[in-house]
Amino acid sequence: MRKNRFRIILTVLFLGLALYFLYPTFKDREFNKDISKLTNAQDSAAFFDKNGNDVIKAKEDRIKLGLDLQGGMYVIMEVDIAKLLTDLAKKKDDNLTQVLNQVSEQSKSSDEDFVEMVDIRLREKGLSLKAYYGEIRDDESSIKSSLKTEVENAIDRAIQVVRNRIDQYGVSEPVIQKKGSSRLVVELPGVSNVQEVRKLLQGTALLEFKLVIDPQIAVKVMEKINTYLAGGNLDSLVKADSLTKIAKLDSLKKKDTTGVTKNNIKKDSTSITEKKDSTKKDITKKDTTKKDLTKKDTSKKNTTKMDSIKPEDSNLTGLTDSNGNPLDTGKQLSEEEFKAKNPWFYLVRPQQFQDGTVAWFVREADKQKVQKLIEKKEIQDLIPTDVSFAFSNRSTFVDEGEKIYQFYILKRDPELTGGVVVNARSNIDPSNNTPVVYMEMNSDGSADWARITGANINKQIAIVLDNVVYSAPVVRSKITGGSSQIEGMANIQEAKLLEIVLKAGALPAPLTIIEERTVGPSLGEDSIQKGLYSSIIALILVALFMIVYYRFAGFVADLALLFNMVVIMGIMASFHATLTLPGIAGLILSIGMAVDSNVLIYERIREELRGGKPIRTAIEIGYNKAFSAIMDGHVTSIITAIILYQFGTGPIQGFALTLLIGLIANLFTAIVMTRIIFDVMTGKGKTSINFG
C-alpha cells in the first residue's frame, strides 16, 4: 500500500507540473481570443494596460509552433555583392563602379550569376575582368571562377551571420534560404514584430579589434557617469577630453585586493598568443591562474549568486561613489540607498578580480536601460570622445535565473578591422585538450598586429562584431608572424562561434532587408486542418479499439494515453521547445510505443490468466515479464533519440526531442501509472478485472 501511495503522489505531481507548464499555452489562446474581439483602439489600449505583461509572459512560455505549422516573419535580405567586388578589385575606376551599379540593379530581377553579369557588362565596354581582378599571367576563366567562389563564400558567410544573429535572439528553427544570386530568404517562426526583426538582421557585420580600456581609466569614466546620474557635482571630477589626459591625471592608489576576489563570477578569460610551434611550446606557457578561474566558473555557473556583487561587496580599488567617497562605504547602505546614491553602479556592477582587472556586469533585464543611457547625448558628452561601450554576445553567467552580461569599456577607434583576417580555424589543442582558435592575418595586418600586441601585453583586446564583444583575450606576447592562437574558451562550441565570427568579419558585404512580411504556415492552413482532424479521428479509433479488445483494461490504457499526452506537452512547454511536423512524427512514434507497452503487458496478463492464475498474481507476473521488453525497446529508442538530437539539426532535432520526451513519459506511465489502478483494485479485494 505504501508503494502505491508513493506512486500516486508521483503521478499527481507529474500531472500537476505538466498542467502548470501548459497553463501559459492555454492562457495565450484565451488572450488571443480576447484580442481578436477587440475592435477599437481604446479597448485595445485598455486591454494591454491591464494585461500587457501577462500577455507577453504567456506568449513566451507557451508551446511554440514551427514555421511549418504556425507561420511567422518572412524577410528577404540582400548581400551587397557590388561592395564585395569593389573591395576585391585591384584597380578601381568609374567604369567598374558603373558596371557594378548596373549589375546590382539588374540582379534584383534576374537569377543570372552576378559575376557573369559583370563579365558581360565589362565586355560590352571593351574591358575585361582581368583588367580589374587579375595578375598578368592569370587566365580569364580562372579569375572568373575564383571571383565566383568569393561571392559564394560571402553569401555563405552572410547565412552564418544571419543564423548567428537569430540564434542569439532565441528564435528556434528559423529557415534561411538562398534566393536568386545575392539574396537570402529568412523565415522566423512565431515572430511578428517588424521592428525587432529589423534591428536583429539589418546592418553590416563589421569585425573590429578594439582595445579594452585599462581598469583604472575605465573606473574614472564610470564614476563620472555615476556622479552625473546621481546628480552629483561634476566639477569635483576630472574634466578630461581624452583618455591620455585621464591617465596622466589619474592618481589612483592601489589597495590590497585580496579581500575582494570573487572567483565565482565569470568574466571573459581568454588569452591570445603567437600560434604555437611544436618546438616552442614552453615559451607560451599558459597563465594557470586564469585557467583555474575558467574552470571554477563553469562548475559554479548556476550557483553563482548575484549577492556576491551586490552593493555591500563592491569595495573596489579606488572606486568612489557619487560624493567622492570610496565605494566600499556601501557596506552600510541598503540596496535601495545604494541605488539612489549610485544609480549607474547599480545597473552596471563592477567586480574586481584577483589579477587586478575590473569587469562590469549588467543583468539581462537592465540591458535595454543601460543601452538607452549610453546612447544619451548627455552621457556621450560626459565620456571621453575616444571611448565606446559594448556588451558581451551572450550572458557570461546566470544568477538566480537571470542572465548576466559582461559590459565592456572600449577604445572607440578599432586597432584593426576584420578585413586583415584571412583565415580562422577552431580546434582542440592536442597538448592539453582545450579548445583553441587559430587566426591568420595578411601581411599588412600582421605588421600592425605585431605593433598592437607588442604595445599591449597583458591587456585585453576585444573581438567585436556588430558592436558586440565575442571575446576579449588577454595579449600574452607580441605576435609577429600574423598567426595567433586564442585559448581559454569554455568549450568547443564557443571556439567554433569565435571562428565563425572571425571569418564573418572578413565579409565586407553589408546585409540589407529589402522586404519583410508576415507569412502563413508553410504546410498551409488546409493541410494542417486535415492532418489535425485525421489524427484526432485515428486517436479516437485506437482508443475505442483498446476498449473493445481489452475492455476495462483498455479503458485504463486509454487513460494512460491521455495522461501521457498531457505530460509530453507539459514537458515540451517547460523546455520552450518548438513543435514542428517532424516533431509530431516523433509524437506519433511515442504514442505508438505507449500503446505497445500496454498491449505487451495485457497480452502477458491474459496468458497468465489463461494458465489459471488468480488476477493479482497474473497482473504481478504480467507486468514483470513485459518489463524487460518494454525497457529494452525504450532504451534503444532513447539512445537513438539522444544521438539524433546531438548530431542532427533543425527538423531532425525537433523529431528527436519530442520522441525523447515521449519515451520517458511512456516508461513512467507504462510501468507506474496503469499499475496503480490495477493494484488499488486488487488491493480492495477485487477478484476479477476485465482484460477482455
Binding site: S527, K530, F545, P582, P651
Partner: protein, 317 residues
C-alpha cells in the same frame, strides 16, 4: 476478444522464400531508385517562388486543387501577409518565364472568378542544405552503431546484428517500394521532403522496437525450453508474440492509413512512406529478423564444428 491465440505457425520454415522475396524487392526497388530516383521535393532541391496577389481572399485549398489539376506538383503554398497574397513555391526550375507561365495558366483556369497579378518570381535555394543532409546521415549511422552496442550487451551479439540487419532491411525495402510506387503511380506525388525523412526516422524506431520485443521473448524462452534448439524456440516465441505484433502494428497501421486517406496532399509523402514502413517492419520482425539470427548462428556453428555445408544442425518442424 482474442486474435491469434495459441497459434503454431512455422514462420522460419519458409525463410529462404522470404529472403528471396525481400532481396528481390530491395534489388528492384533500389534499381528503380537509382535509375529513376525519387522526386526531390522543394525542401531539398529548391525551386521557383512566385508571389501572386488576388483580387479577393482565396482559400489555399482552392489554389492547391488548381495546381494539381494543372499537374504542378509538390508546391508549398502559403499566405503572405493577407489572404489575398499567396506565395507559391514549386520545385520546378524551368528557364525564363516557363514556370510562372504554367502557374499563371493553372490559376487562371482553376480559379476563374478571381483575378490575380503576379507580383514577383524568384529562384530559391533548398531549405534543407547539404550540411543538414550530411548531419542527418551521420546521426543515423551513429545511432545504428549505438543500437548495435546496446543490444549486444543486453542480448547476444548475434541478436544485435540480427536486429540491425532487420532495420537495414526495413529501410531498404521501404525506400525501394516508395521508389517503385512513385515511379508506377506518379499521381501519388511521392516526393523526398521533410515529411518523408520524418517517416523514415519513425519507421526506424518502430522497426527496432518490434524486433526487440520478439528477441526479448526468445531470450526468455531459451531459459524456459532448454532442450529445444534455437529454431524451435524462435518459432515458439514468434507465435507467442504474434498477437501483440499484430495488435500494436495494426493500430499504428490504422492511424497512418487514416492520415493517408484524409490527411491531404501535403501529408501524403509522410503517411505513405510510413504505411509501407509499418507493413515492412511487421513482416521483417516476424519473418526475417529471427531468421537472420538462426542462419547466422547456424553459420557460426558450422564453421566451429566443421560440419559439412548443407547439413544444418536444425531440423525443420
Amino acid at each position: 476478444m482474442h486474435f491469434f491465440q495459441n497459434t503454431n505457425i512455422d514462420f522460419l520454415g519458409k525463410r529462404k522464400l522470404f529472403y528471396i522475396v525481400s532481396l528481390s524487392v530491395i534489388v528492384i526497388g533500389l534499381a528503380v531508385f537509382f535509375a529513376k530516383g525519387l522526386v526531390i521535393g522543394i525542401d531539398f532541391a529548391g525551386g521557383t517562388e512566385v508571389l501572386v496577389r488576388f483580387q479577393k481572399d482565396v482559400p489555399i485549398e482552392q489554389i492547391r486543387t488548381a495546381m494539381s489539376t494543372a499537374k504542378i506538383d509538390g508546391a508549398e503554398i502559403k499566405t503572405l501577409g493577407s489572404e489575398r497574397d499567396i506565395l507559391i513555391r514549386t520545385p520546378e526550375q524551368g528557364e525564363g518565364t516557363a514556370v510562372s507561365d504554367n502557374i499563371r495558366q493553372a490559376l487562371t483556369t482553376g480559379i476563374p472568378d478571381n483575378t490575380f497579378e503576379v507580383l514577383r518570381i524568384d529562384k530559391v535555394g533548398p531549405k534543407i542544405g547539404k550540411e543538414l543532409t550530411t548531419s542527418a546521415i551521420y546521426a543515423t549511422i551513429f545511432s545504428l552503431i549505438a543500437i548495435l552496442i546496446y543490444l549486444a550487451f543486453r542480448f547476444e551479439f548475434v541478436y544485435a546484428v540480427g536486429s540491425v540487419l532487420a532495420l537495414l532491411h526495413d529501410v531498404l525495402v521501404t525506400l525501394g517500394l516508395v521508389a517503385i510506387f512513385g515511379y508506377l503511380f506518379p499521381d501519388l506525388h511521392l516526393e523526398l521532403n521533410q515529411g518523408m525523412v520524418a517517416a523514415f526516422l519513425t519507421l526506424i524506431g518502430f522497426s527496432v522496437n518490434d524486433t526487440v520485443v520478439v528477441f526479448d521473448r526468445i531470450r526468455e524462452n531459451i531459459k524456459l525450453y532448454k532442450s529445444e534448439d534455437i529454431y524451435h524456440v524462435m518459432n515458439r516465441s514468434l507465435n507467442y508474440t504474434l498477437s501483440r505484433t499484430i495488435i500494436t502494428n495494426g493500430t499504428v497501421f490504422i492511424t497512418v492509413l487514416i492520415l493517408l486517406i484524409f490527411g491531404g496532399e501535403v501529408n501524403r509523402s509522410f503517411a505513405f512512406t510510413f504505411l509501407i514502413g509499418i507493413i515492412t517492419g511487421t513482416y521483417s520482425s516476424i519473418y526475417t529478423a529471427g531468421a537472420f539470427v538462426v542462419d547466422i548462428k547456424n553459420f557460426m556453428d558450422k564453421n566451429k564444428k566443421g560440419i559439412i555445408p548443407g547439413k544444418l544442425s536444425v531440423k525443420k518442424a
